[in-house]
Assembly symmetry: C2
Homo-oligomer: 503 residues x 2
């Protein structure tokens, strides 16, 4: 057996390329949301490993027959759920090279190209985003590719935490407080828990419609004051540009001003919306980032790069290194000792790391800045089109203002209320009962839409209001898919609204 | 621009397959350890991103000219450093499918196949390793693919920590103590630091040659007693099967007995050596795992699977879920609520996760259990061959017993001492001076060997003794490479020993 025989590698490699090309050709034929039942796969595949090798043809047949039906097709142009993780030919080629070279670039010497290309491409991307110079290597900061936002937050939070604990002693860990809003992504909560922050010291500060669900600097200041009065220590603020529920944007500059006053670390999580900031007209959303300590966005969401690729920049890499470096004898080498090189293992959680810079480099070179901007703008136009379609139908409403490519909508309360012949409130039922009824109606609508397999959207709940989330961003999406998606929504709404009212 | 145009995907995909096939054909022509200088790449590539797209042909040319020379070639059959991260055709195909489908399988519904295949293949692999049933899904435990060992330890340590803190209150975090040996991998230290364990409560217990650098249960018990007497709380023990320095094996059963007595969580880190346990004759090294709480090994080391793929099994998945789950509204779904499915985001740090089970499934099916065992055994035979070659040359010594594929050797002190005409000790220099001289000599030998580019080995230091580490495991390695590697060692030793002695 030679598992890297070049001839066999060629033959099987071409087979899989053709398999995937066909997958993209046929992708619209599959139900977007997988229709399988829990436990489906164990009924179809053996419960133990095969003793002998099986031909790749047979395995690919099984992928076709048993795996593909169990996929929710994130690359389908009819996928509008969550936020996308779109991909591209260039990035897939990057992943192929990454897996093919399979170098573990934990430090410079273990593969200089892996480290140096990452530093280079993170400076490229930083410039594309017009990040302030202190975030770039050329300005004594620097960028690193983490696996995901949770990791980016754990690393920066650990650095911030240890900066304080080195001064106050480890016992103070139980007094540290971290702040976000009630719209901050759940990654922050998990990261804080992992880093040993007392769950009682995790502040998810309330946002309201009056600030469009952005965190108010006044709210932050009040919370900090209360904590200080209680003998606690404000540590870290996680701001968000483009929240998951409604793509809300925290006002960075005034929030940083408050946080800086108390010596806190500020992180900017632009996981989804960050990609848009390569377009000058969207750059304004991260104005104020110059006052933050770290900034991250996921190229694996809306930047044509498959999982995993979370781009993190910090002003003070040394803060990361102080917390995350280990220097066992078996890794000592002259390059590290010369202090002329970056050892990325000291900027992240794990030692080993994939050569992820390749895919990012291939995406940027393979498409170029102008095309990448066009792609972002095209998705924004499609989202605007969908928004207009919603607004044209008076039974529906767009619930939040749209900044990027997320449209949050629902069937209006008046329409649902109308179904019960207007006697809701008269019935003695209050507003809460009514809201619940409207929410359940919209949830049922979404279930019906997704069960059709024609499109896939997701939902959220903000201030008790259930909304359907329609996020544009699939690589293959075009106008006809958006128009079709809206037709599917209307058809299911028609059908649901024509059913006899039930309470 | 259509970044997923099937025609263009085919054309460029075939191009990269051919590129990689040629890379494997020519891999022995490259210096194994990259010979570039720090900063080489920024001199060769532009400092800003291109405005317009560039043809893939030009990009691949740059990979050939500028990236490949900066690689340390981990897939070279002449790579004997660290521990391998070997790869295979089947696994690369798995990575291609993973990047091509690019599903974010954070919970079951987001791609049922990603979750179910992972559960299935982790049970396959668990059975191949003869893990006790409580670690398998079929025994109410379960397996998950983490990115790396650090993540596996952070997750299990967080679960163990929270189990205690829920009882004692968060303030007790500063009293928690974790234990490993002075041979435990540096990942454990980093994981403990990240999880908020006081660095002063991290115990790297001393090992000695008398136990072949395995952790002694008596040493552990004494340390725990001391900590308890000091008012601290023993929390977690990280045992190792196959340490990084010398492939030492901690005695699992007696260590678990001590740890269990004090209610601690025991993790077994078999990152490198775990793969060998699919062979019945190596399975004995993890005897006692039945008394541990969690077990991990890296398929991305010695199991033909590229980075990243750390296989973790736990007896009590619920302990992980209690610490790591988040349930934001935007992820709520009926499958999760039915409690009939696994949501792997709750078993790991990040939310999004790659479909890594594909590559593991393809490796196991593409080669079959028997071939995988043969591959492991072949590497062990090659390591034994190298060990015999070392032993035949009386100038060299094998420093530690060899259990798996790591041979630790050096030029004997007597040979180095002989260079100075035997007047070392007479000179008034003591043993420390002599040891230092021998160490420096062996370090110089390794530098010369690696600078040749013909092979790449690494080093470690145990009890003050510098040793050269020769680890077999590259997919393409064969007898002639091992014989050649030994010749390179001998040639450089000859040359260095014939030089005039210097102090």
């Amino acid at each position: 057996m030679n598992p890297l025989d070049p001839g066999e590698f060629r033959r099987q490699g071409h087979m899989v390329i053709d398999f995937l090309a066909k997958y993209y050709e046929n992708i619209e034929k599959y139900p977007v949301l997988s229709q399988v039942e829990p436990g489906y796969l164990s009924k179809r595949l053996p419960s133990s490993a095969p003793q002998d090798e099986e031909p790749m043809e047979a395995i690919l047949d099984d992928v076709r027959q048993h795996i593909v039906p169990g996929l929710t097709h994130w690359q389908s142009p009819n996928f509008f759920a969550y936020f996308q993780t779109n991909t591209s030919t260039a990035a897939i080629l990057g992943e192929m090279l990454c897996a093919g070279f399979n170098v573990a670039g934990f430090n410079w010497v273990s593969s200089p190209a892996a480290t140096e290309l990452e530093s280079l491409v993170m400076d490229w991307l930083g410039k594309m985003l017009e990040l302030p110079r202190p975030f770039l290597f050329s300005g004594n900061g620097g960028g690193v590719i983490e696996g995901n936002t949770t990791e980016a937050i754990i690393c920066t939070l650990t650095a911030a935490r240890d900066r304080v604990l080195r001064r106050l002693g480890h016992n103070s860990i139980a007094k540290l407080v971290v702040y976000g809003s009630d719209q901050t992504h759940c990654s922050f909560q998990k990261a804080a828990r992992v880093a040993g922050i007392d769950p009682q010291n995790f502040r998810a500060l309330k946002t309201t419609r009056s600030t469009l669900f952005g965190l108010s600097p006044d709210t932050l200041r009040k919370a900090i004051r209360l904590d200080i009065d209680a003998g606690l220590i404000p540590l870290y603020l996680c701001t968000t540009v483009g929240t998951t529920s409604s793509a809300a944007v925290d006002p960075l500059a005034p929030l940083c001003e408050v946080a800086n006053e108390f010596g806190m670390w500020v992180h900017v999580d632009a996981a989804y919306a960050g990609a848009s900031c390569i377009c000058p007209e969207y750059r304004k959303f991260i104005n104020g980032v110059e006052f933050a300590d770290s900034f991250s966005f996921n190229a694996h969401k809306w930047f044509l790069t498959p999982l995993d690729c979370c781009c993190l920049w910090v002003k003070d890499p040394n803060a990361l290194v102080k917390s995350l470096s280990t220097a066992p004898e078996y890794l000592k080498n002259e390059a590290t000792e010369s202090k002329q090189v970056v050892d990325y293992a000291d900027w992240q959680l794990s030692l080993s790391r994939r050569f992820r810079a390749l895919k990012l480099w291939l995406v940027i070179r393979g498409y170029g800045v102008q095309n990448l901007r066009s792609h972002i703008r095209y998705h924004c136009r499609l989202a605007k089109l969908f928004e207009e379609l919603v607004e044209e139908d008076c039974r529906f409403e767009v619930v939040f203002p749209r900044y990027f490519v997320l449209v949050c909508f629902r069937i209006c309360p008046s329409v649902v209320a109308g179904m019960s012949n207007g006697h809701i409130v008269e019935n003695g039922h209050g507003e809460a009962w009514k809201l619940n009824k409207v929410n359940r109606f919209n949830a049922q609508l979404l279930r019906n839409i997704n069960a059709s397999g024609q499109v896939f959207m997701s939902h959220t709940m903000v201030e008790g209001v259930y909304v359907i989330r329609f996020a544009v961003g699939a690589t293959l999406v075009s106008e006809r898919h958006v128009i079709m998606a809206w037709k599917v929504v209307q058809e299911h709404a028609n059908s649901l609204l024509s059913m006899p009212a039930s309470e």
